[in-house]
Symmetry: C2
Subunit: 254 residues, 2 copies
DNA sequence: TTCCGTCTTTGACCCAGATCAAATGGAACT
DNA sequence: AGTTCCATTTGATCTGGGTCAAAGACGGAA
């Protein structure tokens, strides 16, 4: 049965990067297959964690990056008073812990929103491997850079958008992320609470709730608890046409 | 006189990374001196650009990262309607263009706020060098990670803070950055307009102006146009004690 | 020196969304 | 079925800061 080999087998299908449906979203993207093999030799696959369990917390020594394999994770900080500030939500294929490379310790909590499996990437080994595999180094830099861009977009959203635009943007982001993972882009379940969404978007949870109601009244959505159906994707997109930065500018003035 | 050597000489002092007062803030930090030398062989030092000139714009092909050597740069996007959204301000030793690694093109404008000299780091050469110098690879990852952390802080600030807290935080950030560069942390000139500050902090320029007035009335600052003197640093710090995330949490609940 | 354009300050008003409060509805128990 | 505990919805009210408007104040050009 080969149970002792480095990669676990289930029905003859290796649980390995090479066979992972998320590979194109993840670290192995663009690597030669023999390099992917070297990468998966350092990946640790622990048993799934349950809803509410922490992957790490602020102050924890940084040893590994984590990639969500199944499930969903939220990252957040906490004030001394005890209230949470949600930093982000992480779906399958998305990397956690990039902010900790900086000073070798985590700066926030990472908590499972549902039963979640993660791939653990011991960072020292990863870094060492990256010196030997230029493509891996490049991909790591790209992932970090993507995170920087994504956060810059978030900052722009928070700076320049109404509550309506923020929620529309959030839903469209989820929709697109589900689509790329092969799920329905118009029919999905929210892993997080209204409170979490509000905290993430800088809104009161009541505002989030009211907006869901309004979007439903306008025929944009059908909402039932955590279940969201997008009925009018175009309308949703239209809601944030206004404040999108202009990336198509070709002419230049001093 | 050795004018033809790779590094320009002025009064016998090389304009080179090894002698640069910003080295500890910049890419060479932590590298062996022979590695610093290899790094500075790929650095291009062009002539300074004038206030208002662009370093790059959205859509420009990404070739190089830039480090501000003297002066100040703002990065921003522009809506089709033509109004700017400031993303950040960059002081000497700070890196520009990290968000462009992702898709090989710049996503925003970078404009000099005053006469500015930058060091240009051709990215392909840098990446190639990083495979040969593990310390350089590590430092690059650290810099990217620091950017991620800094932006996460910004997001938290925008999500959870009042106008007063935002401006206090901005001034303290400038103060600290000047201090680390050997300038006075309590007496400096703002390179950017009230408009720019407002855009950066998600506030109307009028609000920024009113806050400067109020801080002055409260004896926290003395403000004269672009000139800022911090009279009561502690008071300023106190203004944002409340909403700071708790990084000292040691206990853990499920 | 005056003129002009831009940046900044100050005042008056208003609204999106926060806050407070209460009712409603599931889900997981016994 | 009933009870408890949350999460969510809905309503009523309030306010921080945006918007509009106008008046300085500086700096550069001629």
């Amino acid at each position: 049965m080969g149970e002792k080999s480095k990669v676990v087998s289930i029905d003859g299908i290796k649980v390995a990067c090479a066979n992972c449906s998320l590979a194109t979203l993840c670290l192995p993207y663009g690597l030669e297959s023999q390099d992917v093999e070297r990468l998966e030799n350092i990946v640790k696959r622990n048993k799934p964690i349950q809803r509410g369990q922490l992957l790490y917390g602020p102050g924890d020594h940084f040893r590994s990056l984590y990639v969500v394999k199944t499930g969903a994770v939220k990252t957040f900080t906490q004030t001394p008073a005890g209230d949470e500030h949600v930093i982000g939500f992480h779906l399958p294929g998305e990397i956690l812990g990039l902010d900790a490379i900086q000073d070798n310790q985590h700066g926030c909590f990472a908590k499972a929103l549902e039963t979640t499996a993660v791939c653990e990437l011991p960072f020292e080994k990863l870094e060492h491997l990256a010196t030997a595999i230029p493509g891996l180094q490049h991909q790591m830099l790209r992932l970090l850079s993507r995170e920087v861009s994504a956060e810059a977009n978030m900052i722009s959203l928070l700076n320049n958008s109404t509550a309506e635009e923020r929620l529309a943007s959030f839903l469209l982001s989820l929709s697109e992320r589900f689509r790329r993972r092969g799920f329905s882009p118009t029919d999905f379940f929210l892993a997080m609470s209204r409170q979490d969404i509000g905290s993430y978007l800088g809104l009161a949870l009541e505002t989030v709730s009211r907006l869901f109601t309004r979007f439903q009244e306008q025929g944009i959505l059908e909402v039932d608890r955590k279940h969201v159906k997008i009925k009018d994707l175009e309308h949703l997109k239209q809601l944030l046409r206004h404040h999108t930065p202009c990336h198509a500018s070709l002419n230049r003035s001093s």
